[in-house]
Symmetry: none
Subunit: 183 residues, 2 copies
């Protein structure tokens, strides 16, 4: 910069603002960007300093989502959602047996059809696959949420326990299901 041209920069130091919706569209936008960044940084510092798991999700007024998570947003959300769904140690013995089956490694560790070889894909394939995975997430999540809403709506008074055998069958089907060999 030309020394002669150095104009004294007018410094508008930080001004105190009260915490209410910022009216001016542009100011609000800039503030959102800055403070979102600051919030994520604080969250990151908290997780590092204190070994905490943190997830932050923000929707701007325009509906755009932003998120931060350590170790990942989904990890924290799952932990949270599984915590919230209530104590699972009050289940009947019959159900517990079934849950052990679900938690068995067989189901989760079996290579599924979505375990494809990524390195063989081109750029567009990768992006498409990414999109596809997100769609699958959405499908399962929506089915899960819809079902769970219904579950919550159903009064939990039905004492029939024996019917749980259905799930043993269902699990068997699942185990045999996603075993398609891609290409």
């Amino acid at each position: 910069m030309n020394p002669v041209e150095v104009k004294k920069r007018i410094c508008n130091g930080r001004k105190k603002i009260d915490i209410k919706l910022i009216e001016k569209e542009e100011n609000r936008q800039v503030c959102f960007s800055k403070r979102r960044k600051g919030l994520f940084k604080k969250a990151s510092e908290l997780s590092t300093l204190c070994g905490a798991e943190v997830a932050v999700i923000v929707f701007s007024l325009t509906g755009k989502p932003y998120c931060f998570g350590h170790p990942s947003v989904d990890h924290v959300l799952h932990r949270f959602l599984n915590n919230v769904s209530g104590p699972s140690d009050t289940l009947s013995p019959a159900t517990t047996n079934c849950l052990e089956l679900i938690n068995d490694d067989q189901l989760v560790q079996k290579p599924f059809w979505w375990d494809v070889e990524l390195h063989s894909m081109g750029d567009d394939e990768l992006r498409l696959y990414e999109k596809f995975l997100l769609e699958q997430q959405t499908v399962v999540t929506e089915a899960s949420e819809a079902a769970m809403e219904q579950i919550d709506a159903v009064p939990h008074t039905n004492p029939e326990v024996g019917e749980a055998d259905y799930f043993l069958w269902l699990l068997q089907e699942i185990k045999d299901l996603p075993d398609i060999d891609p290409i």
Copy 2:
């Protein structure tokens, strides 16, 4: 306080610390408490100032959950879980064709094996099914995340577009897949 007794408080002003796990158990505990509070305050200010919807979930090292949400944690989580798919308008034409297929109602609205009749279930069955759905979410999410991490790691320079046909095949398989009639 007795004026005679007013001892000058030795002030230890804030010291710069580097961002790494605080070793000393007690200090970490105090820091967690303070910074968690600060984080929630920042989140609150962001939502008020900018009209944003915010959810923050924190697990301490001891496993205790804390959360903040505006208008509520559940509201934001629900919105986020239904909203995961990102912008699709920057993709190449070849990819876009494929995405249209993905987005086609056929795939998503076809009744899947998890669309079971809830009202026929007993109490334990319902709880078990709920657990099962959460497991399925985890499986798909984890597969998705692992794959997407790899996708991000792969340099997006491969110009081969034609390979995307693989996904047309994959989608066909998917459409025919989950068509098991429960019981």
